[in-house]
Subunit: 400 residues, 2 copies
């Protein structure tokens, strides 16, 4: 019997701010509070602090300091990339390509641009959620100005072949953005190796607080601000700098830079234990996403004849926190478009359950899950009207 009575395995949704990060932030709420735009000493000191943090984030990504823009979230960074590049290049063309499994902040930015008469191609993915580079090549038109394909998918963990995809765009003079919100902090992200022009990241994914994110943009990439106004962030993002948040992100980036190789090994080992345990103890379960080319700390499943949300609730009662791509109560979605895109049957997609680990996850937590989960699945299936029955090819999902 393990010594724990809970497991927090929803780190992709939220994670506590690291203690060192909060400690680094604290002096910037009340003691060092000046506005970096001010010309006097205590203001320019704050400007220096911001620039130091920019350097730390740049270092994590193997970028240059001046290629980092601080934002309020990964979602803002994605919006800024998609809209900012499109508006800046509006004279060059009116066509965008995004993958069909992007985060909503990319998909809905693209849909907004459609309303402004831009054209968008939503590129399909294979059964693992990967974009075929040949397919991207075929989708490119003379008027294509931007391609956005996420580095790793938050729901199925799959990592895209970004270097190949970015190279195709580079050849055609098309700007390439990747959403790194799910990857930065969890796997190695080197913008030079990836060959991307822009990359979004979220602070909380690194152990920084909510309310801070960043956008990498390769020097020379033209970008219209999303938030117009003053000259902060070199004129690219207006509004007084969120100094405590920026200091938090800088510190988190510094820690991640040091710990990442160890974190990855740790997560991979525990993730593999979790996956093997679930697949060994539960029947009729599909491991979604790519089996190898995926985030080290990411395990996602679809349990047959189960509502993922019900399982998430039941797990939470045992202190186990997980996520589902198919939540009714969250109102976001009826069924997961990501799972639909990789060809998962609608009824099976309902059983989506996602586990995301981080450096603080323990073997005891994993074993606790492996102990608690299988009987819960059995219980839910015993209540299910479809368990053990032949499922027709198309099953409408019903959310009430």
């Amino acid at each position: 019997m393990s010594g724990v009575n809970g497991a927090y395995l929803d780190n992709a949704s939220a994670t506590p701010v690291r203690k060192q990060v909060l400690d680094a932030m604290l002096p910037y709420f009340r003691e060092h509070f000046a506005n970096p735009s001010n010309v006097y000493d205590i203001g320019s000191k704050m400007k220096q602090v911001v620039e130091e943090q920019r350097g730390k984030v740049a270092h994590l990504l193997n970028a240059k300091s001046e290629e980092i823009i601080f934002t309020s979230s990964g979602a803002e960074a994605n919006n800024m990339a998609i809209k900012g590049v499109t508006f800046a290049r509006q004279k060059k063309g009116n066509h965008l390509i995004v993958s069909s499994i992007e985060h909503h902040s990319v998909l809905n930015s693209a849909r907004f641009l459609e309303r402004l008469d831009y054209e968008v191609t939503f590129l399909p993915v294979d059964e693992y959620g990967r974009i075929d580079p040949a397919r991207l090549s075929k989708a490119i038109r003379p008027e294509t100005i931007l391609v956005s394909i996420m580095h790793a998918n938050n729901e199925i963990g799959t990592i895209q072949p970004i270097p190949e995809l970015a190279a195709i765009c580079k050849e055609s003079g098309i700007i390439f953005h990747t959403d790194g919100v799910a990857s930065v902090g969890n796997t190695r992200v080197d913008v030079a190796e990836l060959g991307v022009d822009l990359l979004s990241l979220s602070g909380p994914a690194l152990g920084a607080p909510k309310g801070i994110g960043a956008l990498y943009f390769r020097k020379g990439t033209r970008l219209m601000p999303l938030i117009h106004g003053g000259i902060q962030e070199n004129g690219r993002r207006a509004g007084t700098e969120n100094i405590p948040g920026i200091v938090g992100l800088g510190k988190a980036a510094e820690i991640v830079s040091q710990e990442l190789p160890e974190t990855q090994n740790h997560c991979r080992k525990l993730r593999d234990r979790l996956v093997a345990g679930i697949l060994g103890r539960v029947e009729k379960v599909t491991y979604t996403g790519h089996p190898q080319r995926r985030l080290p700390g990411h395990a996602s499943f679809c349990f047959e004849a189960i509502e993922g949300e019900a399982l998430v609730f039941m797990l939470a009662q045992a202190g186990i926190y997980t996520n589902t791509g198919s939540a009714c109560a969250s109102k976001a979605l009826k069924t997961s478009p990501v799972l639909g895109a990789i060809g998962i049957r609608a009824d099976l997609a309902q059983g989506s359950t996602v586990f995301t680990l981080n450096s603080h996850t323990t073997e005891e937590e994993i074993d606790y899950v492996l102990d608690k989960l299988p009987p819960m699945v059995d219980r839910l299936r015993a209540l299910s009207p479809i368990w053990g029955k032949e499922i027709p090819e198309y099953q409408e999902d019903v959310c009430t």
Copy 2:
């Protein structure tokens, strides 16, 4: 001789987070860290926390809870209002009216829309920086969809006749937005009395941390998101909620709701002492903005034959922190467009110095300033090539 050796009178630029505010925030970094979008207990508890704070901000403004959207800054709120209303009403018309002394986040949002083929009228102001309601009426066209006129100006402190201006717009079915960044926290702001459809505010102005702001929008006002994506903020602003920031803003709003009448009296008394002292001890100085209809804690001057930035530097050496509308080093502006708009000569505008007080400002600080400032003005004037000379009507400002 006063017992202090400094004075922080740049509260409009930045102000320390209130201690009670930081204390309220602290548990939300590490202890209560869950994502409000999650369906399980610790997630929905966070959703409840967010909604409680929304209620507190609404209460401060005499609004309904569901009329408040949390943003990352006042600048973001302004961008969201200007672009969000314009895009949502694009079928109704293509004309906007903003005052010529708006904050850059309003002006540059309007200029961005001009690039997308919207038409913008930049409305002139009188010598006090006030908009004449008759002038607004004349500027309205059948295709006008939005008017944005700030509640109070950050540089000259003038308060606009918002109820009259908003009423004119209401009659014509035009949405009216006001930038309340300089006013909320410093003077009474009641959205029902003002009659506005939207109002932006900034957290730091209330003693909340940097990185949080809010937009009030009257129920039923159509608004396109600025940050597209998930369903946070009722689908109006995507990205994981900045819980610690939101808790900070909620707490700050609660405190301001209680303390505002006292704060206003306190600031007005000290501001009047400062103004009388400066006008009494320094010759050739212009008190800018409206003498009565202005923010209680706001005093702004133009000192003849002085560079405001030099004075700000010199004051900072004596521990006195102030601001200037005409800063070269801040790179934002060569000369202040606000001072130009109220008809201040370019050479005089160079001498702009702004003092912003808050509830923590003391009489000792004011007296310290009145002791230190006059000899500094004398010293700078002794070095000035233009002091005591006839100034030609037009003097080009030179920033190197």
